[in-house]
Protein backbone atom coordinates (compact mmCIF):
# COMPACT_ATOMS: atom_id res chain seq x y z
CA UNK A 1 0.00 0.00 0.00
CA UNK A 2 1.29 3.48 -0.69
CA UNK A 3 2.28 5.58 2.29
CA UNK A 4 -0.55 8.04 1.95
CA UNK A 5 -3.16 5.36 2.57
CA UNK A 6 -1.17 3.39 5.12
CA UNK A 7 -1.31 6.32 7.55
CA UNK A 8 -5.10 6.30 7.35
CA UNK A 9 -5.49 2.88 8.93
CA UNK A 10 -4.00 0.76 11.69
CA UNK A 11 -4.39 -2.99 11.78
CA UNK A 12 -3.33 -5.19 14.64
CA UNK A 13 -3.95 -8.48 16.35
CA UNK A 14 -5.12 -8.47 19.94
CA UNK A 15 -6.87 -11.11 22.04
CA UNK A 16 -7.19 -13.40 19.09
CA UNK A 17 -8.91 -10.81 16.93
CA UNK A 18 -7.80 -9.12 13.76
CA UNK A 19 -8.74 -5.47 14.19
CA UNK A 20 -8.77 -2.62 11.69
CA UNK A 21 -8.97 0.97 12.88
CA UNK A 22 -9.83 3.70 10.42
CA UNK A 23 -7.83 6.58 11.84
CA UNK A 24 -9.80 9.56 10.52
CA UNK A 25 -13.28 8.24 11.26
CA UNK A 26 -12.54 6.25 14.42
CA UNK A 27 -14.36 3.22 12.97
CA UNK A 28 -13.25 -0.08 14.49
CA UNK A 29 -13.72 -3.20 12.40
CA UNK A 30 -13.17 -6.77 13.52
CA UNK A 31 -11.97 -8.49 10.38
CA UNK A 32 -10.90 -11.93 9.23
CA UNK A 33 -7.41 -12.97 8.22
CA UNK A 34 -8.12 -12.45 4.53
CA UNK A 35 -9.10 -8.80 5.02
CA UNK A 36 -6.10 -8.42 7.30
CA UNK A 37 -3.83 -9.57 4.47
CA UNK A 38 -5.69 -7.55 1.86
CA UNK A 39 -5.06 -4.38 3.83
CA UNK A 40 -1.34 -4.78 3.25
CA UNK A 41 -2.04 -3.98 -0.40
CA UNK A 42 -5.45 -2.35 -0.79
CA UNK A 43 -5.50 1.41 -1.30
CA UNK A 44 -9.13 1.83 -2.30
CA UNK A 45 -8.71 1.55 -6.05
CA UNK A 46 -6.40 -1.33 -6.82
CA UNK A 47 -8.72 -4.34 -6.59
CA UNK A 48 -6.99 -6.16 -9.44
CA UNK A 49 -3.59 -5.75 -7.82
CA UNK A 50 -4.98 -7.21 -4.59
CA UNK A 51 -6.46 -10.20 -6.40
CA UNK A 52 -3.30 -10.86 -8.39
CA UNK A 53 -1.16 -10.76 -5.27
CA UNK A 54 -3.38 -12.93 -3.09
CA UNK A 55 -5.10 -15.38 -5.44
CA UNK A 56 -2.55 -18.06 -4.59
CA UNK A 57 -3.65 -17.83 -0.94
CA UNK A 58 -7.39 -17.20 -1.25
CA UNK A 59 -10.15 -18.10 -3.70
CA UNK A 60 -10.70 -15.33 -6.20
CA UNK A 61 -14.43 -15.14 -5.47
CA UNK A 62 -13.71 -14.74 -1.76
CA UNK A 63 -11.29 -11.93 -2.48
CA UNK A 64 -13.87 -10.16 -4.66
CA UNK A 65 -16.47 -10.55 -1.92
CA UNK A 66 -14.09 -9.11 0.67
CA UNK A 67 -13.18 -6.20 -1.59
CA UNK A 68 -16.87 -5.45 -2.10
CA UNK A 69 -17.24 -5.19 1.67
CA UNK A 70 -14.27 -2.84 1.89
CA UNK A 71 -15.80 -0.60 -0.76
CA UNK A 72 -19.01 -0.47 1.25
CA UNK A 73 -16.98 0.79 4.21
CA UNK A 74 -15.35 3.40 2.00
CA UNK A 75 -18.75 4.59 0.80
CA UNK A 76 -19.77 4.99 4.46
CA UNK A 77 -16.61 6.98 5.24
CA UNK A 78 -15.49 4.22 7.59
CA UNK A 79 -12.39 3.30 5.64
CA UNK A 80 -9.79 5.73 4.33
CA UNK A 81 -11.94 8.57 5.67
CA UNK A 82 -10.70 12.02 4.65
CA UNK A 83 -7.91 13.69 6.59
CA UNK A 84 -8.92 16.03 9.32
CA UNK A 85 -7.75 19.63 9.38
CA UNK A 86 -7.86 22.02 12.31
CA UNK A 87 -11.61 22.67 12.56
CA UNK A 88 -13.18 26.10 13.06
CA UNK A 89 -14.52 24.77 16.37
CA UNK A 90 -10.93 24.76 17.68
CA UNK A 91 -10.60 28.37 18.74
CA UNK A 92 -7.24 30.11 18.41
CA UNK A 93 -7.20 30.89 22.13
CA UNK A 94 -8.21 28.54 24.90
CA UNK A 95 -10.39 29.40 27.87
CA UNK A 96 -9.01 28.34 31.24
CA UNK A 97 -11.56 25.98 32.77
CA UNK A 98 -9.46 23.72 34.98
CA UNK A 99 -7.00 24.40 37.75
CA UNK A 100 -4.80 22.10 39.75
CA UNK A 101 -4.18 23.66 43.13
CA UNK A 102 -0.89 22.70 44.76
CA UNK A 103 -2.49 22.99 48.16
CA UNK A 104 0.62 21.75 49.93
CA UNK A 105 4.17 21.66 48.68
CA UNK A 106 4.73 19.07 51.35
CA UNK A 107 3.77 15.49 51.94
CA UNK A 108 3.48 12.92 54.70
CA UNK A 109 4.93 10.22 52.44
CA UNK A 110 8.25 9.84 50.69
CA UNK A 111 7.35 7.97 47.52
CA UNK A 112 10.49 7.03 45.66
CA UNK A 113 9.17 8.00 42.21
CA UNK A 114 7.54 11.31 43.14
CA UNK A 115 7.79 13.85 40.31
CA UNK A 116 7.19 16.61 42.86
CA UNK A 117 10.34 15.90 44.89
CA UNK A 118 8.08 14.48 47.66
CA UNK A 119 6.19 17.75 47.65
CA UNK A 120 8.90 20.38 47.31
CA UNK A 121 8.68 20.79 43.52
CA UNK A 122 12.24 22.04 43.47
CA UNK A 123 11.51 24.72 46.08
CA UNK A 124 10.68 24.95 49.76
CA UNK A 125 8.00 23.04 51.61
CA UNK A 126 5.02 25.34 52.03
CA UNK A 127 1.25 25.36 52.27
CA UNK A 128 -1.12 27.39 50.11
CA UNK A 129 -3.01 30.03 52.08
CA UNK A 130 -6.67 30.93 51.74
CA UNK A 131 -5.94 34.19 49.94
CA UNK A 132 -4.18 32.34 47.13
CA UNK A 133 -6.88 29.66 47.03
CA UNK A 134 -9.69 32.17 46.70
CA UNK A 135 -7.79 34.16 44.09
CA UNK A 136 -7.44 30.94 42.10
CA UNK A 137 -11.22 30.46 42.18
CA UNK A 138 -11.72 34.04 40.99
CA UNK A 139 -9.09 33.49 38.30
CA UNK A 140 -10.86 30.52 36.77
CA UNK A 141 -14.22 32.28 36.86
CA UNK A 142 -12.76 35.32 35.12
CA UNK A 143 -10.93 33.28 32.48
CA UNK A 144 -13.45 30.54 31.69
CA UNK A 145 -15.70 32.84 29.65
CA UNK A 146 -19.09 31.31 28.87
CA UNK A 147 -18.11 27.80 29.93
CA UNK A 148 -20.41 26.52 32.61
CA UNK A 149 -18.38 23.56 33.83
CA UNK A 150 -15.15 24.28 35.64
CA UNK A 151 -12.84 22.02 37.61
CA UNK A 152 -10.47 22.32 40.49
CA UNK A 153 -8.27 19.48 41.70
CA UNK A 154 -6.83 19.72 45.18
CA UNK A 155 -3.37 18.30 44.66
CA UNK A 156 -0.02 18.37 46.35
CA UNK A 157 2.11 17.09 47.92
CA UNK A 158 -0.67 15.85 50.07
CA UNK A 159 -3.76 18.07 50.21
CA UNK A 160 -5.16 16.52 53.38
CA UNK A 161 -2.36 18.15 55.38
CA UNK A 162 -3.88 21.49 54.38
CA UNK A 163 -7.56 20.80 55.04
CA UNK A 164 -8.31 24.36 56.25
CA UNK A 165 -7.43 25.58 52.75
CA UNK A 166 -9.42 22.81 51.06
CA UNK A 167 -12.46 23.63 53.16
CA UNK A 168 -12.17 27.37 52.65
CA UNK A 169 -11.77 27.09 48.88
CA UNK A 170 -14.70 24.67 48.66
CA UNK A 171 -16.90 27.03 50.65
CA UNK A 172 -15.83 29.91 48.42
CA UNK A 173 -16.45 27.87 45.26
CA UNK A 174 -20.00 27.07 46.34
CA UNK A 175 -20.65 30.76 47.05
CA UNK A 176 -19.26 31.82 43.70
CA UNK A 177 -21.24 29.12 41.90
CA UNK A 178 -24.45 30.71 43.12
CA UNK A 179 -23.27 34.15 42.06
CA UNK A 180 -22.06 33.16 38.59
CA UNK A 181 -24.08 30.12 37.51
CA UNK A 182 -20.89 28.13 37.02
CA UNK A 183 -20.73 24.50 38.10
CA UNK A 184 -17.50 23.27 39.62
CA UNK A 185 -16.37 19.69 39.81
CA UNK A 186 -13.97 19.34 42.72
CA UNK A 187 -11.43 16.55 42.93
CA UNK A 188 -8.90 15.70 45.61
CA UNK A 189 -5.91 13.45 45.04
CA UNK A 190 -4.71 11.82 48.24
CA UNK A 191 -2.30 9.17 49.48
CA UNK A 192 -4.86 8.30 52.15
CA UNK A 193 -2.55 8.40 55.15
CA UNK A 194 -4.40 11.30 56.77
CA UNK A 195 -7.93 10.19 55.95
CA UNK A 196 -10.07 9.96 59.08
CA UNK A 197 -13.75 9.86 60.04
CA UNK A 198 -14.03 13.63 60.12
CA UNK A 199 -12.45 14.47 56.78
CA UNK A 200 -14.10 11.47 55.07
CA UNK A 201 -17.49 12.80 56.17
CA UNK A 202 -16.61 16.28 55.03
CA UNK A 203 -15.39 15.04 51.62
CA UNK A 204 -18.60 13.07 51.15
CA UNK A 205 -20.86 15.87 52.31
CA UNK A 206 -19.18 18.27 49.91
CA UNK A 207 -19.25 15.95 46.89
CA UNK A 208 -15.49 15.91 46.38
CA UNK A 209 -14.38 13.27 43.86
CA UNK A 210 -11.37 11.37 45.10
CA UNK A 211 -8.29 10.02 43.40
CA UNK A 212 -6.79 7.51 45.82
CA UNK A 213 -3.13 6.66 45.34
CA UNK A 214 -1.83 3.20 46.11
CA UNK A 215 0.28 0.80 44.11
CA UNK A 216 -1.62 -2.46 44.45
CA UNK A 217 0.10 -5.31 46.23
CA UNK A 218 1.36 -4.75 49.74
CA UNK A 219 4.97 -5.39 48.74
CA UNK A 220 4.79 -3.06 45.73
CA UNK A 221 3.15 -0.31 47.74
CA UNK A 222 5.42 -0.56 50.76
CA UNK A 223 8.50 -0.68 48.57
CA UNK A 224 7.67 2.58 46.83
CA UNK A 225 5.43 4.50 49.22
CA UNK A 226 6.94 4.71 52.72
CA UNK A 227 6.04 7.45 55.18
CA UNK A 228 8.42 10.22 56.24
CA UNK A 229 10.13 7.89 58.66
CA UNK A 230 10.59 5.19 56.06
CA UNK A 231 7.87 3.01 57.57
CA UNK A 232 5.40 0.99 55.50
CA UNK A 233 2.00 2.57 54.85
CA UNK A 234 -0.02 -0.12 53.08
CA UNK A 235 -2.12 -1.28 56.04
CA UNK A 236 -2.95 2.24 57.14
CA UNK A 237 -3.96 3.61 53.75
CA UNK A 238 -5.91 0.56 52.63
CA UNK A 239 -7.91 0.57 55.85
CA UNK A 240 -8.64 4.27 55.31
CA UNK A 241 -9.48 3.82 51.63
CA UNK A 242 -11.88 0.99 52.40
CA UNK A 243 -13.67 3.02 55.03
CA UNK A 244 -13.79 6.03 52.73
CA UNK A 245 -15.05 4.21 49.62
CA UNK A 246 -17.63 2.23 51.60
CA UNK A 247 -18.91 5.45 53.12
CA UNK A 248 -19.60 6.84 49.64
CA UNK A 249 -21.30 3.67 48.41
CA UNK A 250 -18.38 2.71 46.21
CA UNK A 251 -18.81 5.75 44.00
CA UNK A 252 -17.14 9.00 43.07
CA UNK A 253 -13.53 7.85 43.30
CA UNK A 254 -10.65 6.41 41.30
CA UNK A 255 -8.01 4.21 42.84
CA UNK A 256 -4.79 4.95 41.03
CA UNK A 257 -1.46 3.19 41.02
CA UNK A 258 1.90 3.70 39.42
CA UNK A 259 4.06 0.92 38.07
CA UNK A 260 7.81 1.16 37.80
CA UNK A 261 10.71 -0.97 36.61
CA UNK A 262 10.30 -2.89 39.86
CA UNK A 263 6.78 -4.16 39.17
CA UNK A 264 6.45 -4.78 35.47
CA UNK A 265 4.04 -7.57 36.48
CA UNK A 266 1.55 -4.84 37.39
CA UNK A 267 -1.52 -6.91 36.50
CA UNK A 268 -1.02 -8.49 39.91
CA UNK A 269 -1.23 -5.03 41.43
CA UNK A 270 -4.48 -4.27 39.61
CA UNK A 271 -5.74 -7.66 40.80
CA UNK A 272 -4.76 -6.80 44.35
CA UNK A 273 -6.78 -3.59 44.18
CA UNK A 274 -9.79 -5.45 42.80
CA UNK A 275 -9.48 -8.21 45.40
CA UNK A 276 -9.31 -5.59 48.13
CA UNK A 277 -12.81 -4.54 47.11
CA UNK A 278 -12.17 -1.59 44.81
CA UNK A 279 -13.55 -1.50 41.30
CA UNK A 280 -12.75 1.89 39.75
CA UNK A 281 -9.09 1.56 38.97
CA UNK A 282 -6.17 3.00 37.08
CA UNK A 283 -2.54 1.96 36.77
CA UNK A 284 -0.08 4.38 35.21
CA UNK A 285 3.46 3.94 33.95
CA UNK A 286 6.00 5.90 35.95
CA UNK A 287 7.78 8.66 34.04
CA UNK A 288 11.32 9.16 35.30
CA UNK A 289 14.55 10.05 33.57
CA UNK A 290 17.85 8.50 34.66
CA UNK A 291 16.28 6.62 37.54
CA UNK A 292 16.53 2.95 38.50
CA UNK A 293 12.73 2.94 38.73
CA UNK A 294 12.24 4.45 35.26
CA UNK A 295 10.95 2.53 32.24
CA UNK A 296 13.23 2.00 29.27
CA UNK A 297 12.91 0.93 25.67
CA UNK A 298 14.41 -2.45 26.56
CA UNK A 299 11.50 -3.14 28.91
CA UNK A 300 8.82 -2.57 26.27
CA UNK A 301 8.34 -6.22 25.22
CA UNK A 302 7.76 -7.19 28.85
CA UNK A 303 5.41 -4.25 29.36
CA UNK A 304 3.44 -5.10 26.21
CA UNK A 305 3.06 -8.71 27.36
CA UNK A 306 1.82 -7.45 30.70
CA UNK A 307 -0.87 -5.34 29.03
CA UNK A 308 -1.98 -8.51 27.24
CA UNK A 309 -2.27 -10.19 30.63
CA UNK A 310 -4.13 -7.19 32.06
CA UNK A 311 -6.56 -7.32 29.14
CA UNK A 312 -7.21 -11.01 29.72
CA UNK A 313 -7.68 -10.41 33.43
CA UNK A 314 -10.04 -7.50 32.79
CA UNK A 315 -12.22 -9.57 30.46
CA UNK A 316 -12.11 -12.61 32.74
CA UNK A 317 -13.38 -10.62 35.69
CA UNK A 318 -16.02 -9.00 33.51
CA UNK A 319 -17.32 -12.40 32.36
CA UNK A 320 -17.32 -13.69 35.94
CA UNK A 321 -19.61 -10.84 36.95
CA UNK A 322 -16.80 -9.30 38.97
CA UNK A 323 -15.86 -6.63 36.45
CA UNK A 324 -14.11 -3.39 37.29
CA UNK A 325 -13.57 -0.08 35.55
CA UNK A 326 -10.08 0.45 34.27
CA UNK A 327 -9.44 4.06 33.34
CA UNK A 328 -7.59 3.37 30.10
CA UNK A 329 -10.02 0.71 28.89
CA UNK A 330 -13.15 2.80 29.49
CA UNK A 331 -13.42 3.99 25.93
CA UNK A 332 -16.67 4.90 24.22
CA UNK A 333 -15.81 4.25 20.59
CA UNK A 334 -19.10 5.71 19.36
CA UNK A 335 -19.46 8.80 21.52
CA UNK A 336 -15.94 9.92 22.16
CA UNK A 337 -14.70 13.47 22.21
CA UNK A 338 -15.05 15.85 19.27
CA UNK A 339 -12.13 16.78 17.02
CA UNK A 340 -11.58 20.06 18.86
CA UNK A 341 -11.18 18.21 22.15
CA UNK A 342 -8.82 15.71 20.60
CA UNK A 343 -6.65 18.60 19.46
CA UNK A 344 -6.85 20.43 22.76
CA UNK A 345 -5.68 17.29 24.56
CA UNK A 346 -5.26 17.65 28.28
CA UNK A 347 -5.40 21.42 27.88
CA UNK A 348 -2.15 22.05 29.76
CA UNK A 349 -0.95 25.58 29.25
CA UNK A 350 -4.08 26.90 27.57
CA UNK A 351 -7.21 25.43 29.21
CA UNK A 352 -5.63 23.94 32.28
CA UNK A 353 -3.14 25.56 34.67
CA UNK A 354 -1.55 24.56 37.92
CA UNK A 355 -1.41 27.04 40.78
CA UNK A 356 1.64 26.71 43.01
CA UNK A 357 1.27 27.29 46.74
CA UNK A 358 2.46 30.91 46.32
CA UNK A 359 -0.05 31.55 43.54
CA UNK A 360 2.32 31.18 40.59
CA UNK A 361 0.74 29.76 37.45
CA UNK A 362 2.27 26.92 35.43
CA UNK A 363 0.98 24.96 32.41
CA UNK A 364 0.19 21.95 34.63
CA UNK A 365 1.13 20.34 37.94
CA UNK A 366 4.15 18.62 36.44
CA UNK A 367 5.64 21.90 35.24
CA UNK A 368 5.58 23.45 38.72
CA UNK A 369 9.14 24.39 39.57
CA UNK A 370 10.34 24.39 35.94
CA UNK A 371 11.08 28.11 35.98
CA UNK A 372 11.05 28.81 32.27
CA UNK A 373 7.42 27.71 32.19
CA UNK A 374 6.19 30.04 34.93
CA UNK A 375 3.29 31.88 33.33
CA UNK A 376 2.34 34.45 35.94
CA UNK A 377 0.28 34.32 39.12
CA UNK A 378 -3.33 34.33 40.18
CA UNK A 379 -3.18 37.92 41.43
CA UNK A 380 -1.53 39.61 38.46
CA UNK A 381 -2.52 37.26 35.62
CA UNK A 382 0.04 36.29 32.99
CA UNK A 383 3.58 37.70 32.92
CA UNK A 384 4.78 39.70 29.95
CA UNK A 385 5.56 37.24 27.18
CA UNK A 386 3.65 34.39 28.79
CA UNK A 387 0.91 34.63 26.19
CA UNK A 388 3.49 33.38 23.71
CA UNK A 389 3.95 30.28 25.88
CA UNK A 390 0.22 29.64 26.22
CA UNK A 391 -0.20 30.11 22.47
CA UNK A 392 2.62 27.65 21.86
CA UNK A 393 0.91 25.09 24.08
CA UNK A 394 -2.41 25.69 22.32
CA UNK A 395 -0.80 25.17 18.94
CA UNK A 396 1.26 22.14 19.99
CA UNK A 397 -1.42 19.71 18.89
CA UNK A 398 -1.02 16.57 16.83
CA UNK A 399 -1.11 18.40 13.53
CA UNK A 400 1.93 20.43 14.52
CA UNK A 401 4.07 17.62 15.92
CA UNK A 402 6.13 15.83 13.30
CA UNK A 403 5.98 12.42 14.95
CA UNK A 404 2.25 12.64 15.55
CA UNK A 405 1.15 13.67 12.08
CA UNK A 406 1.41 10.14 10.71
CA UNK A 407 0.70 8.22 13.92
CA UNK A 408 -2.50 6.17 14.07
CA UNK A 409 -3.00 6.93 17.77
CA UNK A 410 -3.04 10.71 17.45
CA UNK A 411 -6.77 11.18 17.99
CA UNK A 412 -6.74 9.02 21.12
CA UNK A 413 -3.66 10.31 22.94
CA UNK A 414 -3.73 13.86 21.51
CA UNK A 415 0.01 13.88 21.17
CA UNK A 416 0.92 12.71 24.65
CA UNK A 417 1.94 14.56 27.77
CA UNK A 418 3.70 17.90 27.24
CA UNK A 419 5.50 17.63 30.57
CA UNK A 420 6.94 14.26 29.65
CA UNK A 421 8.06 15.57 26.25
CA UNK A 422 9.74 18.51 27.95
CA UNK A 423 11.41 16.26 30.51
CA UNK A 424 12.99 14.02 27.89
CA UNK A 425 13.52 16.39 24.96
CA UNK A 426 13.26 19.91 26.33
CA UNK A 427 10.62 20.44 23.65
CA UNK A 428 6.91 19.88 24.11
CA UNK A 429 6.56 19.06 20.41
CA UNK A 430 8.85 16.02 20.64
CA UNK A 431 6.86 13.27 22.36
CA UNK A 432 8.49 10.95 24.88
CA UNK A 433 9.01 7.79 22.84
CA UNK A 434 8.65 5.13 25.54
CA UNK A 435 5.43 6.78 26.63
CA UNK A 436 4.18 6.71 23.04
CA UNK A 437 4.88 3.01 22.66
CA UNK A 438 3.14 2.17 25.92
CA UNK A 439 0.23 4.38 24.98
CA UNK A 440 -0.19 2.65 21.63
CA UNK A 441 -0.14 -0.81 23.14
CA UNK A 442 -2.62 0.25 25.80
CA UNK A 443 -4.89 1.69 23.13
CA UNK A 444 -4.80 -1.54 21.15
CA UNK A 445 -5.84 -3.37 24.30
CA UNK A 446 -8.59 -0.84 25.00
CA UNK A 447 -9.96 -1.05 21.47
CA UNK A 448 -9.86 -4.85 21.66
CA UNK A 449 -11.68 -4.82 25.00
CA UNK A 450 -14.41 -2.63 23.56
CA UNK A 451 -14.60 -4.81 20.45
CA UNK A 452 -14.93 -7.99 22.52
CA UNK A 453 -17.59 -6.48 24.78
CA UNK A 454 -19.46 -5.16 21.76
CA UNK A 455 -19.39 -8.54 20.00
CA UNK A 456 -20.55 -10.32 23.14
CA UNK A 457 -23.29 -7.76 23.71
CA UNK A 458 -24.78 -8.26 20.26
CA UNK A 459 -24.46 -12.02 20.67
CA UNK A 460 -22.18 -12.56 17.72
CA UNK A 461 -22.25 -16.30 18.23
CA UNK A 462 -20.48 -17.07 14.99
CA UNK A 463 -17.57 -14.88 15.95
CA UNK A 464 -14.51 -17.09 16.01
CA UNK A 465 -11.31 -15.69 17.44
CA UNK A 466 -8.34 -16.22 15.17
CA UNK A 467 -5.90 -18.79 16.43
CA UNK A 468 -2.99 -16.45 16.85
CA UNK A 469 -0.66 -16.09 19.74
CA UNK A 470 -0.73 -12.39 20.56
Amino acid sequence: MNNEMSTKIHKFVQNGMYILLDVNSGAVHVIDKMIYDIMDIFNGKNDNEVINNLKSQYAENDLKEALDELHILMDKNQLFAPDIDVPPTFKAKGLVKSLCLMTAHDCNMRCKYCFGDTGEYGGERQLMNNKVGRAAVDYIIEHSGPRKHCEIDFFGGEPLINMPLVKDVTEYVRKREKETGKEFKLTLTTNGLALNDDNIKWLNDNNISLVLSTDGRRETHDNMRPDCGGQPTYDKVMKNFKKCVDSRNGENYYMRGTYTAENLDFTKDVEAMADAGFDILSMEPVVLKDSPYGLTEEMLPEIFAEYDRLTDFYLKRHREGKGFFFFHFNMDLSNGPCVAKRLAGCGAGHEYYAVAANGDLYPCHQFVGRNKYKLGNVFDDLDEGAEDITRYFRESHVMNKERCKTCWAKYFCSGGCHANADLFHDDIRKPYEVGCEIQKKRLECAIAVQAVLSMEKIGKKDYKPASVNC
Partner: protein
Protein backbone atom coordinates in the same frame (compact mmCIF):
# COMPACT_ATOMS: atom_id res chain seq x y z
CA UNK B 1 -21.11 -8.49 6.16
CA UNK B 2 -19.30 -11.79 6.06
CA UNK B 3 -15.71 -10.71 6.56
CA UNK B 4 -16.09 -7.52 8.56
CA UNK B 5 -17.91 -6.67 11.76
CA UNK B 6 -17.91 -2.95 12.56
CA UNK B 7 -18.23 -2.56 16.31
CA UNK B 8 -19.00 1.14 16.65
CA UNK B 9 -20.80 4.06 15.08
CA UNK B 10 -17.94 6.48 14.65
CA UNK B 11 -18.58 10.20 14.97
CA UNK B 12 -15.15 11.69 14.47
CA UNK B 13 -15.78 12.99 10.95
CA UNK B 14 -19.11 14.45 12.02
CA UNK B 15 -17.42 16.54 14.70
CA UNK B 16 -15.15 18.33 12.24
CA UNK B 17 -17.76 21.04 12.13
CA UNK B 18 -19.46 20.59 15.50
CA UNK B 19 -18.42 20.28 19.11
CA UNK B 20 -15.69 22.39 20.62
CA UNK B 21 -17.94 23.60 23.44
CA UNK B 22 -15.18 22.80 25.92
CA UNK B 23 -17.60 21.70 28.62
CA UNK B 24 -15.94 18.30 28.99
CA UNK B 25 -13.58 17.40 31.77
CA UNK B 26 -9.86 18.05 31.42
CA UNK B 27 -8.42 14.59 30.99
CA UNK B 28 -5.68 15.06 33.54
CA UNK B 29 -8.20 15.93 36.23
CA UNK B 30 -9.57 12.44 36.45
CA UNK B 31 -7.19 9.62 37.14
CA UNK B 32 -3.98 9.84 35.22
CA UNK B 33 -2.05 12.94 36.22
CA UNK B 34 0.99 11.60 34.43
CA UNK B 35 -0.19 10.87 30.92
CA UNK B 36 -2.49 12.39 28.37
CA UNK B 37 -5.43 10.20 27.52
CA UNK B 38 -8.21 11.94 25.70
CA UNK B 39 -9.80 9.15 23.68
CA UNK B 40 -11.62 7.79 26.69
CA UNK B 41 -13.07 11.10 27.83
CA UNK B 42 -16.81 11.57 27.75
CA UNK B 43 -18.53 14.24 25.68
CA UNK B 44 -20.46 16.38 28.13
CA UNK B 45 -23.17 17.17 25.60
CA UNK B 46 -23.89 13.47 24.97
CA UNK B 47 -24.24 12.46 28.61
Amino acid sequence: MKHIQTVNEPTLQATKTSGGCGECQASCQSACKTSCTVGNQVCESKK
